[in-house]
């Protein structure tokens, strides 16, 4: 990782807040990508020694071992409440959750909404791939109409299976939410934009402007049953059409 003469290091193999970068996630998975930029933002904001991560249950649970950040493992769906308890006791620390769509929008939908409504100064990072990846690719509350999953074999049917929830849009409607945005990691450009959103979310927390959420669309080629290389396109054409990227709420100080 030391520079050769005539060169300088732009970015090392192992990001600062990772203990190890080895993991068992699938080829082409978007979750490690999203998680890496979260750690980069923490470094940029000099929160390396003032951060607690609360993990949900999904494929990203694997990061518990990997992250060089104080971590509390929550049960499936419960991370926002756990983060509330942590933050109330450590008000000066940057507390964030890392959750999937199954975790946040299925099992724990009311946790995130209540926590946002309460205006807890925590940041929630949602890794939304529109499936329960970990269990093998089943329909979640964010799967889009027509999406083929193991429990919607002929594609999600609005009549029979219902409609997807655009969670960031809901959270943005709550008075306790200070910053809400939706990004993606399906291209290098999207990664850069999403990183800015994550930064804005943590700034919101530091400035005590209330709850912040960044929803990040992540590829799950395994759960989508597509070749890894097709993941980014599939995402843009399906999930990306319903879960539209952009900033949804930027509340000023002293809401």
């Amino acid at each position: 990782m030391t520079d050769h003469p005539g060169t300088h290091l732009v970015a090392p193999l192992k990001p600062e807040l990772f203990l190890t970068t080895e993991h068992h996630l699938c080829p082409g998975c978007g979750e490690p990508v999203a998680t890496r930029i979260v750690t980069e933002v923490l470094c940029e904001l000099a929160q390396q020694r003032s951060a607690v991560c609360v993990l949900g249950i999904g494929c990203y649970t694997a990061f518990a071992r990997m992250l060089d950040i104080d971590t509390v493992q929550a049960l499936h769906g419960r991370a926002p409440s756990v983060a509330t308890g942590v933050k109330r006791m450590l008000p000066d620390v940057s507390v964030f959750t890392l959750q999937g769509d199954g975790d946040m929008v299925n099992e724990g939908l009311q946790e995130v909404l209540h926590t946002a409504a309460r205006g807890e100064n925590v940041t929630a990072i949602l890794l939304n791939n529109g499936v329960f990846g970990e269990t093998g690719g089943h329909m979640t509350a964010t799967s889009v109409i027509g999406q083929r999953t193991k429990t919607s074999l002929d594609g999600r049917d609005a009549e029979y299976h219902g409609h997807p929830i655009r969670i960031a849009d809901l959270v943005a409607r709550l008075d306790g939410a200070g910053y809400v945005a939706r990004g993606s990691v399906h291209s290098a450009g999207a990664v850069a934009k999403t990183k800015k959103m994550i930064r804005a979310a943590f700034e919101c927390q530091v400035e005590r402007r209330g709850f912040s959420l960044v929803e990040v669309l992540t590829m799950c080629p395994t759960g989508w049953f597509v070749p890894t290389a097709d993941g980014p396109d599939y995402m843009e054409q399906t999930l990306g059409q319903i879960h539209v990227m952009g900033e949804l709420k930027v509340a000023r100080a002293g809401r």
Binding site: T7, L9, A11, C26, P27, C29, A188, A229, G231
Partner: protein, 92 residues
């Protein structure tokens, strides 16, 4: 049909960490990454190789799920001669 390209940066690729997902290939703006065809790493995956012309932009690193890239920039760009008429994505 050789030509000269300007190389502003370079990447170290952790080949054995690669899971052959292909995501870095289209992400590379100058298209200087190319997957092996029959060669596989210790886990049986194809992996990317670098052609001349890297800009050190870190796009590959930004999209790689497996932390395979270390990105460097040259203090001064270097010129390299390549004889391939096509780039990593097969573009002429």
């Amino acid at each position: 049909m050789s030509r000269t390209v300007l190389t502003r940066g370079t990447v170290v690729i952790d080949v054995d960490a690669c899971k052959g997902c292909d995501l870095c290939i289209p992400a590379c703006p100058p298209a200087v990454l190319v997957m092996t065809t029959t060669d596989v790493n210790r886990n049986g995956f194809r992996y990317p190789q670098l052609l001349p012309g890297c800009t050190g932009c870190r796009a590959c690193l930004d999209v790689c799920p497996d932390f395979c890239f270390e990105v460097h920039k040259y203090d001064e760009p270097i010129e390299e001669v390549v004889d391939a008429p096509v780039d990593g994505r097969g573009r002429a």
